[in-house]
């Protein structure tokens, strides 16, 4: 009924009917409440009503009253998204049943009086505590970070989830924390170097390497003294700024500090919960400088930033133990490194011709921003110069490490062609979203500076900028009317296995698109044979190898929330054997955990998806056993 209706509306939009029927009365009403998970009203939330029809997007916003109530009246029949937002709360919508879940649009017919259209909202939590030094004095204006235990590409990872700086009392408070499991730590990054910002500009070399691909998320503290003072060589730690000490002697510093140990002591935050008293005392320990010389095969290695991070975090960088900048001869010294295994990484981000980096601020934090990324058109923004990189393991025992020799190497590029299997009109380069093709890390890590890939102007090719070596998937989000069929390199399917990029360019990737989508549609019924509106249909591959290391988003997994009539439609899938099961949406939290998938597999129906075919499956709502 809803779908039919949508088609009728689309037709009406496309052509004026010869004898236009009277327009439907704009007299429908929708009303409900915004409630928290316990059923208490959420007052002063903004409820917006968006017409769910594509182009003509109009939005009306109302504020809920003390009882969480809202309504919209004088509505034309149609499909609407009803969304609720409030600062300090997770955005929500009608039909959303878990904090990470999805809602569904509401269908409204002529003369409707649609009540009890309630929206559940989850309040964000907070993590707070005090940071003091070994004498109990507050440490002021230092950064505290929170990481959340998150399922990434089928494995548990600690992922950056927010940060705050301590105030004059040493108190920090990380607000806006979603329900989940957290650890808090003080990165205590020791920065060293000598740098002066040129008047009216930021040093480009410094910015290019400050937040490179595969380095820690960095929130700048402009006062950090990273800038030095008129070229003074300095070292900055959480204890203050000083001139650089000798690079061949032990040094007292405060190492990174965790409340507990990463992966062990963590805090589970429920919706709206605040966890106070996560206090830490930072103590001085003996650390060692790590020094050496960085060489750039072409040009100067001056003013480049090197990152030293824990070897265990190499593939998911969370913070730098130390950050150093080179002098004009490429020399560098990291300070404050406790004994342990580390990785030094330098990544010099390539820039498009004429591209320039700047610094953008967002609240208390500032970020490096490339202006060439924002340029519309895309194709012209592809850098031609290589990405320069080096990753070097270093073990620190109880002595300074000296005379390291690091040489930057150029990163490989990826390119290929796009083939269209189907008679539909082929899109040219303009029809392609300039960000539609991505190179995703196989382990799901998403950096602030993801590799750039652009579709060619003819729409029949694509090429990437030079990238950091590693395991990648080529992921494609085709233009409207086209669907991904395969990605092949030298006869290998590289949808399900990543491409291990080393030093060589890869030029002959073939992306094939089809104009016929392959997906699964159907209805979900409850035990009472009524449409199960609370359900979500989970689809995942039969092959267990594909349950991990699938990149940021698996092309073979989907959680399709049923609509207001209990109907579902999956995203387009590539051919293969799949499991599918309908479960109550609120029980689907972290369903992509391989342990959960193994349980689900036993209860699931197995289906085969074939190229260009839409299959129909009706499902019964299941309880996860």
């Amino acid at each position: 009924m809803g779908l039919l209706f949508l088609c009728a509306l689309l037709l009406q939009g496309a052509q004026t009917p010869p004898a236009s029927p009277p327009p439907p009365a704009a007299d429908a009403l929708i009303f409900g409440r915004v409630l928290d998970p316990a059923g208490a009203p959420v007052a002063a939330a903004v409820v917006s009503l968006q017409s769910a029809r594509g182009s003509n997007l109009s939005t009306t916003r109302v504020l809920t009253d003390d009882d969480g109530r809202y309504f919209f009246d004088r509505l034309e029949p149609g499909l609407y998204n009803v969304l609720a937002t409030k600062m300090g709360w997770v955005d929500s919508s009608v039909g959303k049943r878990r904090v990470d879940g999805a809602g569904y649009p509401v269908s409204i017919a002529e003369h409707d009086r649609k009540g009890n259209t309630n929206i559940t909202m989850w309040k964000l939590g907070a993590l707070s505590g005090t940071i003091v030094d070994e004498l109990g004095e507050p440490l002021v204006d230092i950064e505290v970070r929170a990481v959340r235990r998150t399922l990434v590409s089928g494995t548990r990872q600690m992922v950056f989830a927010g940060s705050a700086r301590t105030d004059d009392r040493g108190v920090y408070r990380i607000s806006g924390v979603r329900p989940g499991e957290y650890t808090v730590f003080v990165p205590a990054t020791v920065m060293s170097g000598a740098m002066t910002f040129p008047p009216g500009g930021a040093p480009q070399e410094w910015l290019r390497t400050m937040t490179g691909e595969g380095t820690a998320p960095m929130s700048f503290d402009f006062d950090a003294g990273v800038l030095g003072r008129n070229g003074t060589s300095f070292v900055r730690s959480v204890l203050g700024v000083a001139s650089t000490p000798p690079s061949d002697a032990p040094w007292l510093a405060v190492p990174p500090s965790f409340a507990g140990v990463v992966g062990a002591a963590s805090f589970t935050i429920a919706s709206g919960q605040e966890r106070i008293g996560i206090d830490m005392m930072l103590r001085l320990t003996t650390t060692y400088p790590v020094s050496g010389t960085l060489t750039m095969p072409e040009g100067s290695a001056a003013n480049l930033v090197l990152h030293l991070m824990s070897a265990s975090l190499e593939s998911f960088p969370l913070f730098d133990v130390a950050t150093a900048a080179t002098d004009s001869a490429g020399r560098f010294t990291f300070y404050g490194v406790p004994p342990g295994d580390y990785v030094i990484r330098v990544v010099r981000t390539p820039l498009a011709p004429g591209g320039l980096l700047g610094i953008a601020s967002s609240g208390a934090n500032a970020y490096v921003m490339a202006n060439d990324r924002e340029r519309p058109g895309g194709a012209s923004a592809l850098p031609t110069e290589p990405l320069w990189h080096v990753t070097q393991r270093v073990a620190v025992s109880n002595a300074p490490v000296k005379d390291l020799q690091l040489t930057l190497k150029p990163g490989p590029r990826v390119s290929g062609r796009i083939e269209y299997a189907g008679a539909s009109v082929r899109p040219d380069g303009k029809a392609w979203n300039p960000f539609a093709i991505t190179l995703d890390h196989a382990n799901g890590y998403v950096s602030r500076n993801p590799p750039r890939v652009v579709p060619g102007a003819d729409g029949e090719s694509f090429a990437s900028a030079s990238v950091l070596p590693g395991d990648y998937y080529v992921r494609v989000n085709p233009p409207a009317g086209w669907y991904l069929k395969s990605v092949v390199w030298q006869g290998h399917n590289i949808i399900d296995a990543p491409l291990a990029l080393g030093t060589n360019d890869v030029t002959d990737i073939v992306v094939t698109l089809s104009d016929r989508p392959a997906r699964i549609e159907g209805d979900v019924y409850g035990a009472d044979d009524q449409p199960a509106l609370s359900s979500t249909v989970l689809v995942f591959p039969v092959d267990q190898d594909l349950w991990t290391e699938y990149g940021r988003v698996s092309p073979r997994m989907d959680a399709a929330r049923v609509n207001h009539e209990g109907k579902f439609s999956t995203k387009t899938l590539v051919d293969g054997s799949y499991y599918m099961i309908a479960v109550a949406d609120e029980t689907a939290f972290d369903w992509q955990d391989p342990a959960t998938l193994a349980k689900l597999a036993k209860q699931s129906r197995q289906v085969t998806v074939r190229d260009g075919e839409t299959s129909h499956e009706n499902l019964k709502l299941e309880k996860i056993k």
Partner: protein, 598 residues
């Protein structure tokens, strides 16, 4: 911190505040990408850093900033002590810094004040230097809505009151430790720390967090109609009455208004927060209210078809800093349509960007209701014309393209801040399309920098027989002004001299400021208000400096914005020396300062 923030603002693509609130710019420092090998010498400076209670301050960074590569940073130990050994002979600014404290500078009377500098010679041992820091003061408070509920993510800002050139009282952003634009946390709480003892204004800035664009309010009566009479506080109760269509229209769009401490939208009427040194003031509560937003509709009346125009809508607020201008650089069509405006006074002006120079403007006051029928009538814009005279023996510039003549605005704020550029043909010039307002006539000749060619500078501007050199000229719509004569000279007027300290040493760590004695010249971007830094021998020079009577003063610290602050300039007059310079004269003025080297 201040230096750091200036960079931030310079790069922020979408600067959060208007340009005038940009923090002080660091003095242009040379780019050094050469190894920062500290020069070594034989002098030693040691001492202690104490707070306002004479207790030692641990882990303060003590920076020695001297000539060239002589810079050094020492960290104080647990007794507040610091040592800088092997210092080369130089004059040093010594500064102790620690987050949450007001800076302690050598030679300063109080923490947070500029100091004097210390000159050390080879082999000197300067011990027992005491740097005074002060624990910064704190303002803490909360932002709540009409019902006392915390507002999360609201931007709160601390300001100080300043007086701008032209006599307008304004407010200025205070930049301190932590963020300059702190947002309230999940409890609605904000906290500024590290503040100097001073008087502050605290306000929630007019920038609203995400998801709080204008909203409509639902009345109790409407909610009763819809939810039924039995609708109760027990939110799970299901009404048994049939829902009815609500009666009455929707409220106008509403949004949270900017508010200052003391429940006012006028920052100057706000309750000021006076902080003693190190004071911690809590309980500063800001109450935000929803106010209606309204739209403005109207037409632009002019020739048919209407040429392409630029349109400026300026919201006139109690202080210039908060005034917001919406500028559409190129638009066609007669329809005026501005939705979602905050109530207040506005000036709407239009100016053609192609074809004949036409301009018009209207003012209106917006309450909570939509305003229809606003009219902007395009009229021929004002024009000024005149001739250019080169008074001097040198060769006149052969290329008129090197002569730049413009009408420059005399205030930094509001409408038409870009100068209006004139057209020069031979000895004649014309500036058309001039919007009503106050301007000064500015002129310059770009030098070809060939040796032997004269450098021409503006020496006088006559409006009819009135001398308006560097003075504001009021221009009204459609007005034709008397012919203007702009005279350039190739004999520059100059003022120079030396800064000498009481002990006979040259003063180089100063800013020398030249300021016209006549306050009428105190306008924005005046070429008569200037600052220079002396060289290492204390020598300074202003060249060219327009002839006139000046007050000359030397200060140790100059922040961007100081030369635009009426209060600052008036304070300066008291500590200055007056000198008159005739056209073409080169005068010498040596300034003897009381500050010593120790």
């Amino acid at each position: 911190m201040t230096r750091a923030l200036s960079l931030l603002c310079a790069f922020a693509a979408s600067a959060v505040l208007t340009a005038q609130t940009v923090a002080p710019q660091a003095p242009a420092a040379p780019v050094r990408d050469t190894p920062a090998v500290a020069a070594t010498g034989t002098a030693l400076v040691s001492g202690v850093v104490v707070d306002d209670e004479n207790k030692p301050v641990r882990r303060a960074s003590v920076t020695f900033e001297g000539d060239a590569r002589a810079n050094r940073i020492a960290l104080t130990d647990d007794k507040g002590a610091f040592v800088a050994a092997n210092l080369p002979a130089a004059r040093y600014t010594i500064r102790a810094e620690r987050a949450g404290f007001a800076t302690g500078e050598y030679g300063a009377k109080h923490a947070g004040r500029p100091g004097a500098g210390l000159t050390v010679k080879d082999g000197d041992r300067v011990e027992n230097v005491v740097l005074h820091m002060a624990r910064g003061a704190v303002i803490q408070g909360r932002v709540v809505d009409e019902k006392g509920r915390p507002m999360v993510g609201a931007s709160v800002t601390a300001y100080r009151v300043v007086t701008r050139l032209g006599g307008n009282t304004d407010i200025e952003l205070v930049v301190r430790s932590g963020s300059a634009f702190p947002q309230t946390d999940d409890r609605g709480i904000f906290r500024f720390y590290g503040l100097a003892a001073d008087e502050y204004i605290v306000g929630m800035s007019p920038f609203f967090p995400r998801g709080q664009e204008s909203v409509h309010l639902l009345t109790d009566a409407q909610l009763r109609d819809v939810f039924g009479g039995a609708a109760t506080r027990a939110s799970r109760a299901i009404s048994t009455d049939a829902p009815a269509a609500p009666t009455g229209a929707m409220s106008p769009p509403m949004n949270y208004a900017m508010v200052f401490y003391g429940d006012t939208t006028d920052p100057l009427a706000s309750t000021r927060v006076r902080l003693a040194p190190g004071e911690e003031r809590t309980g500063i509560e800001l109450h935000v209210k929803l106010e209606p937003r309204a739209s403005v509709h109207g037409v632009i009346v002019g020739p048919d078809p209407l040429p392409t125009m630029s349109l400026e809508l300026m919201h006139k607020t109690a202080v210039q800093t908060l005034g917001i201008t919406t500028f559409s650089p190129s638009r066609t069509g007669a329809v005026i349509d501005y939705p979602n405006l905050t109530p207040g006074d506005y000036v709407l002006s239009a100016r053609t960007t192609t074809g004949p120079a036409l301009a018009g403007e209207t003012t209106f006051t917006l309450g909570g209701a939509d305003l229809n029928g606003v009219r902007v009538e395009l009229q021929p814009a004002a024009t000024i014309a005149g001739r250019i005279v080169f008074s001097g023996s040198g060769l006149k510039p052969p290329d008129p393209a090197t002569i730049a003549l413009s009408l420059a605005p005399v205030t930094q704020f509001g409408r038409s801040v870009a100068p209006r550029i004139g057209t020069v043909t031979g000895d004649a010039f014309v500036v058309d399309g001039v919007m009503p307002g106050a301007f000064r006539v500015a002129g310059a000749v770009r030098t070809t920098a060939k040796p032997g060619e004269p450098a021409w500078t503006l020496s006088s501007v006559m409006l009819g027989d009135r001398d308006v050199t560097d003075l504001p000229v009021e221009i009204n719509a459609g007005q034709t002004l008397p012919p203007v004569t702009v005279t350039f000279t190739d004999t520059p007027t100059e003022l120079g001299g030396r800064i000498v300290l009481a002990d006979g040493n040259p003063g180089s760590d100063y800013f020398v400021i030249a300021l016209p004695s006549d306050e009428r010249y105190w306008v924005w971007n005046s070429r008569r208000i200037k600052s220079v830094r002396p060289d290492a021998t204390g020598r300074y020079v202003f060249s060219p400096l327009p002839a006139g009577t000046y007050r000359i003063a030397a200060v140790t610290e100059l922040e961007q914005g100081d030369l635009r602050s009426l209060t600052f300039l008036r304070d300066l007059v008291a500590a200055s020396t007056e000198i008159e310079i005739a056209p073409g004269q080169k005068k010498i003025l040596d300034l003897k300062l009381n500050g010593g080297t120790r």
